[in-house]
């Protein structure tokens, strides 16, 4: 039924959810699938934002989702950890599998499953969303101590390690208001890492930053990608995607149009829509 409403995108590769052609070699560092999105649809009212998305992300893989605003990429990301309850479809993160259930979204078992997924998938936001009433360190220890019951000493050691990793250990006792946007986002990354998630979801992490602050955040993300952190990144930073992505996913009108290695999707796209998007994007 939804199929009929789709615009004709020409020959779409049928259900190549992993993005790697059958028979072709996987990148050697990539492991088993850890995130699976199946037949995902999302309506906001009558607005059909996701129209059947299938996506598989493997361990240690960095997947970057590109597409124009309104294409559904942010909604897809927010559906993976159920900040938006999908209307139809399945999500699986690190073995926790959950079907969209908008009618019983607030039921206890559903909420508990969602929490299990969220513990495995850390999220970074465009607006950082650090807790302004807590110091940098407390931002990082709050969830480990209160959610996963890590003892305080251990949580502090862990937080300091990750703050050091993002280069902000000396800011541990500052409040977020005293940090620049770039520093805030780096602290947010450390905060997410403190929960030791299996995958990190980045929702346009540099879109709210002044241009001169974008680099420091991308640098941290690139390090993470090279260390083999599994990540799904919604981004407009094409150069970054080119450098750090294992796979680029192009979305339009709520479906995945094309995906593959960055050099292929970004430099030699197979689909007209991708070409259009990239041309317009690079023209700006």
């Amino acid at each position: 039924m939804t199929e009929q409403r789709l615009p004709d995108f020409g020959s779409r590769p049928a259900s190549a959810t992993s993005g790697y052609d059958t028979g072709s070699e996987l990148p050697t560092h990539v492991g088993e699938p850890i995130v699976k999105v199946e037949k995902l649809e999302k309506y906001f009212g009558d607005n059909h934002v996701l129209r059947g998305v299938d996506l598989e992300v493997r361990q240690r893989e960095a997947v970057m989702i590109i597409g124009r605003s309104g294409s559904g990429k942010t909604t897809l990301l927010r559906c993976i950890n159920f900040l938006e309850e999908p209307t139809v479809g399945w999500i699986e993160v690190d073995g926790v599998r959950l079907q969209a259930d908008p009618l019983r979204a607030r039921s206890r078992p559903h909420q508990e499953k969602i929490r299990q997924i969220r513990l495995r998938a850390g999220m970074l936001f465009q607006e950082f969303n650090l807790f302004p009433h807590m110091t940098v360190l407390d931002n990082c220890t709050e969830a480990p101590m209160r959610v996963t019951r890590v003892p305080r000493d251990e949580a502090v050691v862990r937080a300091e390690a990750y703050l050091d990793k993002v280069g902000l250990l000396e800011k541990r006792d500052e409040y977020p208001a005293r940090l620049s946007g770039g520093q805030k986002q780096r602290v947010a990354i450390a905060r997410a890492l403190c929960m030791e998630p299996k995958v990190l979801l980045f929702d346009e992490p540099t879109s709210a930053l002044d241009p001169e602050l974008i680099g420091e955040v991308l640098l941290v993300m690139e390090d993470l990608a090279h260390e083999g952190t599994t990540m799904i990144v919604v981004t407009h930073e094409m150069h970054f995607a080119q450098e750090a992505a294992d796979r680029v996913v192009f979305m339009e009108d709520g479906v995945v149009i094309e995906q593959g290695p960055p050099e292929q999707v970004l430099n030699d796209p197979r689909h007209e829509e991708t070409t259009h998007f990239l041309r317009r994007f690079l023209d700006r």
């Binding site: 950890n81 900040l83 607030r106 909420q111 929490r115 969220r118 513990l119 850390g122 999220m123 936001f125 607006e127 969303n129 650090l130 807790f131 302004p132 009433h133 709050e142 969830a143 209160r146 959610v147 996963t148 409040y175 208001a177 005293r178 947010a188 905060r191 997410a192 929960m195």
Partner: protein, 271 residues
């Protein structure tokens, strides 16, 4: 005259403008003070000219009446604490998806806002004990409960607004870290909401200082009760109530000063 490096030679016009503005400010302040003093002198003079003002009585009884301000402040502090607790739960009910919680809290707000505080005080102190002897309360607890219950309803809306003023992203970030809803509210939303509403709580406290005079009618020995008790036997009603009024006035001025400072600090805040 040649300005040195890094020096800015200010044109005479600017200096003159500044001088004129400073002079105007000084003059305004003087006039303000003058008018206040004139009005005060007028009022005091009018009372004094009746020849009934008994200065000796004032000297004798002012300390007794003034002593009531301690009870007034005690009652207000405890009442505002009770009101804040009720307001938090009231606000939670008002934004709850649970229809029972929403109904209960709406009922509370409607009932309290729809009836006079004086009637509520009468009911809690005089009427409830007729239902059961267990509901007999000493005057001070009864007064605190009545004031707290009343202000809790008004402050419910303040807290609701405060909670809704916390950006949505804060809850999302907390949820994304795996926090259960209860923890999200207690550790992330509530502390930020409290910061938002703190100046408003201060304001309510100042209003309450004046409303607390009502509990004198059930025998709480606060400012007004003491003024009445002291003034009535010797028929020094004028002096007694005059003292009470001045003390209430002074209390509100003092607490307004602190409240203003609090408000400034919150506005500057480190958000």
């Amino acid at each position: 005259m040649v300005a040195g490096v890094g020096e800015f030679h200010r044109p005479q016009v600017l200096v003159n403008i500044e001088k004129a503005q400073a002079a105007h400010r000084r003059r305004s302040r003087l006039i303000f003070l003058g008018v206040w003093i004139a009005i005060l002198v007028g009022i005091v003079g009018a009372f004094a000219s009746t020849g009934n003002t008994d200065l000796e009585w004032i000297a004798e009884w002012a300390p007794f009446i003034l002593g009531g301000s301690g009870i007034t402040i005690l009652v207000c502090v405890l009442s505002i604490v009770l009101a804040v607790i009720l307001a938090i739960f009231g606000a939670l009910g008002r934004i709850s998806r649970n229809p029972v919680a929403y109904a209960v809290s709406s009922f509370y707000v409607s009932l309290v806002r729809g009836t006079p505080l004086l009637v509520q005080i009468y009911i809690i102190y005089f009427a409830l004990p007729t239902i059961s002897p267990f509901l007999i309360l000493p005057a001070i607890p009864a007064g605190i409960i009545a004031l707290g219950f009343n202000y809790g309803a008004y402050m419910t809306e303040i807290f609701r607004a405060g909670i809704q003023a916390v950006p949505r992203g804060q809850q999302e970030a907390a949820r994304a870290l795996g926090m259960p809803e209860r923890l999200v509210f207690r550790r992330v939303v509530l502390p930020q909401a409290v910061r938002v509403v703190t100046p408003a709580i201060g304001n309510e406290f100042i209003v309450m200082i004046k409303d607390s005079a009502l509990v004198s009618i059930i025998g709480v020995q606060e400012l007004l009760w003491r003024a009445e008790t002291a003034g009535r036997p010797a028929l020094n009603i004028l002096e007694a109530f005059f003292i009470a009024a001045v003390v209430y006035w002074a209390l509100t001025i003092i607490f307004s000063f602190f409240q203003g400072r609090l408000e400034n600090r919150m506005a500057r805040g480190d958000r």
